[in-house]
């Protein structure tokens, strides 16, 4: 039984991966299939990737498909990844948004702040956002905060939901001060404190499918996800985001991503070291 992938096999399995995840694997990415799905080949006793694909496609409870999604998705993330977007959120977006919303409100109801971390992976981004909110808003009762993290991978959502991180994950991006303030030791791991955990909800969601019943958001973080998609899927994704974003809402993409030329409905705006997008 060999894990080496033939060009035909690569075509079949990469099309399948693209169909279920939107992840577009060009030629030259054969190694990604081999390193990430090679284990499943053995586990399911398949002699080829096309057999694996067939098994996944006909599996009634879709457990193999879920395993393929878990294996093929990249969960590279860290707390406060690339600090600039969080400074942007803290110093520009949230103060502006709160001013705007407060001016338009009667003062009788809490001000809604709805933030979505699309493709939240294991939760580090949305928890970092929760920490920023916690530190910025001394009186959270004045706000109606909704923080949502979604991801295509069951395994990622499960870990995000537990809010438990090992020593390697916790070390990255988090200051000692924030570590002790917002996490408690949990055996050999660290667990996010209940007060932060309670601010966030998680849901499994595939970004290439329709955003039914998602609701509207004031701020969307969609960082380093579209980079894995084909151009068509990228356009569709940002079109769907444009529809669930409030007219004066904010979109933040990865620091090396570009939207002009991909989706014309957004206008880039600059603040210090970062760019955010608003609807034209």
């Amino acid at each position: 039984m060999s894990c080496e992938i033939t060009p035909d096999e690569f075509r079949i399995i990469s099309k399948y991966v693209c169909d279920i995840t939107g992840i577009h694997l060009d030629q030259g990415k054969e190694y990604l299939i081999e390193t990430r799905l090679g284990g499943l080949l053995k586990e399911y006793g398949c002699s080829s990737y096309s057999e694996l694909q067939h098994k996944a496609g006909t599996d009634p409870d879709k457990s193999l498909e879920r395993k393929i999604i878990d294996a093929i998705t990249t969960n590279e993330t860290l707390f406060f990844r690339d600090t600039a977007p969080f400074e942007l959120l803290q110093h520009k977006i949230l103060p502006d948004l709160i001013d705007l919303r407060a001016a338009g409100s009667s003062g009788l109801f809490p001000i809604p702040i709805r933030i979505w971390s699309a493709a939240c992976s294991t939760g580090q981004e949305i928890y970092s956002i929760a920490v920023v909110l916690k530190e910025l808003l001394p009186d959270p009762k004045k706000y109606n905060i909704r923080l949502l993290g979604t991801d295509i991978s069951d395994a990622a959502i499960a870990q995000a939901s537990y809010g438990r991180y090992n020593k390697f994950e916790i070390e990255r991006g988090l200051s000692q001060d924030r570590l002790h303030k917002y996490f408690t030791p949990y055996g050999d791991m660290w667990k996010i404190r209940d007060e932060i955990r309670a601010m966030v909800s998680f849901k499994k969601m595939n970004l290439i499918q329709p955003f039914d019943g998602l609701g509207k958001f004031d701020i969307v973080f969609c960082r380093n996800v579209a980079i894995y998609f084909s151009r068509k899927d990228r356009e569709r994704l940002f079109d769907k985001i444009a529809r669930i974003l409030e007219p004066d809402g904010y979109l933040i993409v990865g620091s090396t991503e570009s939207l002009t030329g991909v989706y014309p409905g957004f206008e880039p705006k600059r603040y210090l070291r970062s760019i955010f997008y608003q609807l034209k």
Partner: protein
């Protein structure tokens, strides 16, 4: 390369000197302590890659206490416990509290050296991964600035273009 800095903790001087000799011969950097309190003092003073400690020690601080102190000081210190009796329960409890491994007395030095080699390899891999991430972050930050400048410039030109189009069509 045996680049690990190791703290050996045991109340039995014969064990300490045996381990110290063998590990030094293998090229490791060794410090020793003959009780838990001394070990904790050393751990709080400087960083050790590995703490190798006896579980049962007289005085207020046993191996479990040393483990807890090491865990609190640094996530990057690996703790190996040495147990005098075949007590799986103790070992499991220690692993739950974050011990990397445990060995039974009398310590088989070859076995210990093998485990240290594994830790050393792991540390090298972790450092390499860290270096790569660092390189990636720098590249990403530079690329981000270039892309952001281009993004703003493209947006400015698009605006201008649509203004010109408007004038032309009028």
């Amino acid at each position: 390369m045996n680049n690990l800095k190791i703290l050996v903790v045991d109340d039995d001087p014969a064990t300490v000197s045996l381990l110290e000799r063998r590990l030094k011969n293998a090229g490791y950097e060794i410090e020793t302590a003959d009780n838990g309190a001394e070990a904790v003092r050393l751990i709080s003073k400087c960083h050790f890659d590995v703490v190798l400690t006896d579980l049962m020690m007289p005085g207020g601080l046993d191996g479990m206490g040393v483990l807890e102190a090491a865990r609190q000081m640094s996530n990057r210190t690996e703790v190996i416990l040495i147990t005098a009796y075949a007590s799986v329960d103790n070992a499991v409890e220690a692993m739950k509290k974050g011990a990397t491994d445990y060995l039974q007395k009398p310590v088989n030095c070859d076995e210990l050296l093998l485990r240290l080699e594994k830790i050393s390899n792991l540390k090298t891999l972790i450092r390499d991964a860290g270096d790569l991430r660092e390189a990636m972050d720098i590249t990403e930050a530079n690329a981000a600035q270039t892309i952001q400048n281009l993004e703003m410039e493209v947006a400015r030109l698009q605006k201008k273009l649509s203004e010109i189009r408007k004038i032309v069509s009028e």
